[in-house]
Symmetry: C2
Subunit: 448 residues, 2 copies
């Protein structure tokens, strides 16, 4: 503690905390002190130290900012263009022909709209896997969010794809005052060859970079891989060395029982991102096997995927749906509980994006990524069980204030770093050209 005023003090709130067993609990009437972007203290002392900025958060709950562990943020521009379709038609007939036309400016506008949506939904960090990622990095720098970014590539792009992904990861690592971390981002085992995956694994080891990719997205992919190659996508990750790097696997709803010992044997840190809304919408037969992954100690972070399939970047909804869908698919109403859902939303999501030591809990020394949630709405009253209120009654629209690295990005629902109306206007002007699929080319087929 120094004598100078703190940068930010939040008083009067209930704080979500983790005990030494990582169990989720709540401390009432707490004060959070932030200095230099870091949480200095969380106390129930009635004394509030001097501060440059003071937030009176009585009646509000402070949570670690949500993390969107797998998305394609700029795809908000395509929200609603391909509805009620099977995955293959959705991608091959509509999304990819449009995506292959996107300019860097389109991606930039999409990223800006996506960041506005996420800040308003209490998301402070997102793991993005897309193209033209330089523009996404600059939007992150500008809007104040935290992000884990990877330039996606397919083997169809030739060695340039992989090289560009590496170059991006090295150049942006630690950018935006440390708010940007990076990953190598091969698309998936069915679009990237084993040789390219092996080369990626070697680059990951050489440069100390994690890998973020899609794998075993659904049961069909796993079964097709088994039929064609005699191995599952997870086994491909093992034999190409990807599982010896730190790896973030998107979806994994096709992870089979035979994959579990393979994942258990990984020498890298493995995590999975689950985006349950899209699995329902595409009518996939299974969801991410969260319980089996828990038994292996593999963190499962919450995600939305892109808004062209999920229709929003609402991680709060992913939290509720993860609880509901796990109950429904396991047939066990006791799994998973609201407190477990909050554990996924906090520590497990932070770990999934490689930030388990700096984010995920509101404790001294952690980065000050904080959201304040109001519970005065009739839909969140009365509060008999705060964890249940947060997961099953509250909505992302109940987030009042969003803070990253101690900087307020939204105050009482007002965005402070982005101009949504301006973005929507320009995006609207660009849309007719974008939606003209006559120019759409397929540089690859989404064919499992």
């Amino acid at each position: 503690m120094t004598d100078s005023p703190a940068d930010l003090v939040i008083t009067g709130c209930t704080v979500l905390v983790h005990d030494d067993q990582e169990r989720v609990g709540f401390e009432e009437n707490a004060t959070i002190v932030v200095r230099d972007g870091v949480i200095e203290s969380v106390t129930t002392s009635p004394e509030s130290p001097p501060a440059v900025e003071h937030l009176d958060a009585r009646g509000q709950v402070a949570l670690p900012g949500l993390v969107n562990c797998h998305t394609h943020a700029p795809m908000v521009a395509l929200r609603g263009v391909a509805e009620d379709l099977p995955t293959e038609e959705w991608f091959n007939d509509v999304v990819w022909p449009i995506e292959s036309n996107l300019t860097a400016r389109d991606v930039e506008l999409g990223a800006r709209l996506a960041c506005a949506e996420m800040i308003r939904a209490g998301v402070t960090c997102f793991a993005d896997h897309y193209f033209s990622m330089d523009t996404v990095a600059s939007v992150v720098e500008e809007c104040g969010m935290r992000a884990h970014l990877g330039e996606a590539y397919f083997s169809s792009q030739g060695p340039q794809g992989r090289e560009k992904s590496l170059e991006f990861a090295l150049r942006h690592r630690g950018a935006a005052g440390g708010r940007v971390t990076t990953a190598l981002a091969p698309h998936a085992p069915y679009t990237v060859t084993d040789d390219d995956l092996a080369a990626t694994a070697a680059l990951a080891r050489e440069h100390g970079l994690p890998v973020h990719l899609h794998a075993s997205e659904n049961r069909d992919q796993a079964e097709t891989s088994l039929e064609r190659h005699g191995v599952t996508p997870i086994e491909v990750l093992a034999r190409t060395g990807i599982l010896d790097a730190d790896v973030l696997i998107a979806h994994g709803t096709g992870i089979l029982d035979r994959d579990l010992p393979v994942l258990a044997g990984a020498s890298g840190r493995v995590a999975v991102a689950t985006a349950p809304r899209g699995y329902l919408k595409f009518a996939w037969p299974t969801t991410t096997p969260v319980g089996a992954l828990r038994d292996l100690g593999i963190p499962v972070g919450l995600a939305t995927d892109g808004a062209a399939s999920n229709n929003s970047l609402d991680v709060w909804e992913s939290m509720a749906l993860t609880a509901l869908v796990q109950k429904s698919t396991t047939g066990d109403p006791r799994w998973l509980t609201s407190r477990q859902a909050l554990h996924h939303a906090t520590l497990q999501s932070a770990r999934a994006v490689g930030l388990g030591d700096t984010l995920g809990t509101l404790a001294p020394g952690r980065r000050a990524d904080i959201v304040l949630v109001g519970l005065t709405g009739p839909h969140t009253q009365p509060v008999h069980d705060l964890a249940a209120t947060l997961v099953h009654s509250a909505r992302s629209s109940d987030v009042r204030t969003t803070i990253v690295d101690g900087r307020i990005l939204m105050r009482d629902r007002e965005l402070l770093t982005l101009d949504v109306a301006e973005v929507v206007r320009e995006l609207g002007r660009r849309m007719p050209a974008l939606l003209d699929r006559g120019h759409g080319k397929r540089i690859q087929d989404y064919d499992t």
Copy 2:
């Protein structure tokens, strides 16, 4: 059209309309004129007639108010008291012991909080099935909502239960200036004897009253009924004459193939209310068979059930979940579409509560139950497919204004007829006594 000013004119909005095939569409830049609680016209004429009240709704979408087709509104007081439990434990060990202690004042406060929540979520009408319903009727009168009310009864209450249900239905029918309609409300075939159901059916015919009850709520109930009695709950409804009345069946996730011809043979108007969130949360193995019911011409309305299981009265969420869960459980991403979900939310829900001729679509002669939805939030932009935007991107919190019978109950998110803070304060004072389950008595067991 008279020369006097209209009561309410809404200009500049996009209006959800139904064509003569009941297909959902949208008319842009429309004007809605309301007089004497009724929609006088919906036009795209640029002229706005003189009006006592004018709402400039540019950038907003006008929809028929949502209908919560099955709830126990006062149970919001128990939101979160029994979490992550199987249905039987939830009810027998926690909910019923508390419910059996509820006073009329508790029910009144719960109803007031529930109405506040529903108005804020764009719900203009609810079908309630509970106890102390006189108090609910008076809250409806006071707050301006529309409701379809039934005093619930079990056979364990003796004949007085049924008589009270009838007396309530007759006394309140047409109350609150016609905003209250009523139903006979036996609890369910497993808690009401065949004799009582047959007597109820006779009363329904004699008095021209509909019946609202739980039946075949889940697969277990259907199978237990078959084992014990050799008939399904739906077959019980048929043989007791309930299906010769107009009947609203809550849930029906246990409706079996053998029930379909039975439902097809009903001489009364049959409808089903689906509340999909609770089915996921209780880990029930099936959901309402919406497709099979559609093939029979049986309307399926949207519902939330009580907030002690659903955790909210968010019918907007029920709309999205109905689309998602139908896709997931049928394995077909094309069923059901956003437009179909909007059809359930509008005409089918109005029919489910017996108001298919007066509500459900924004057309001349219909009651003026209207909600205005704002789409300026980044999570609803851009709009490529308005039906998808409404179902999959918008949230209940995007409802700006709620109107019933031409009266504005919420304007730009401000509730005009209810004081939430006052209700929450009094409910808070009463909670400790309510939650003391030491006094809880079981007047019946929830044992299928």
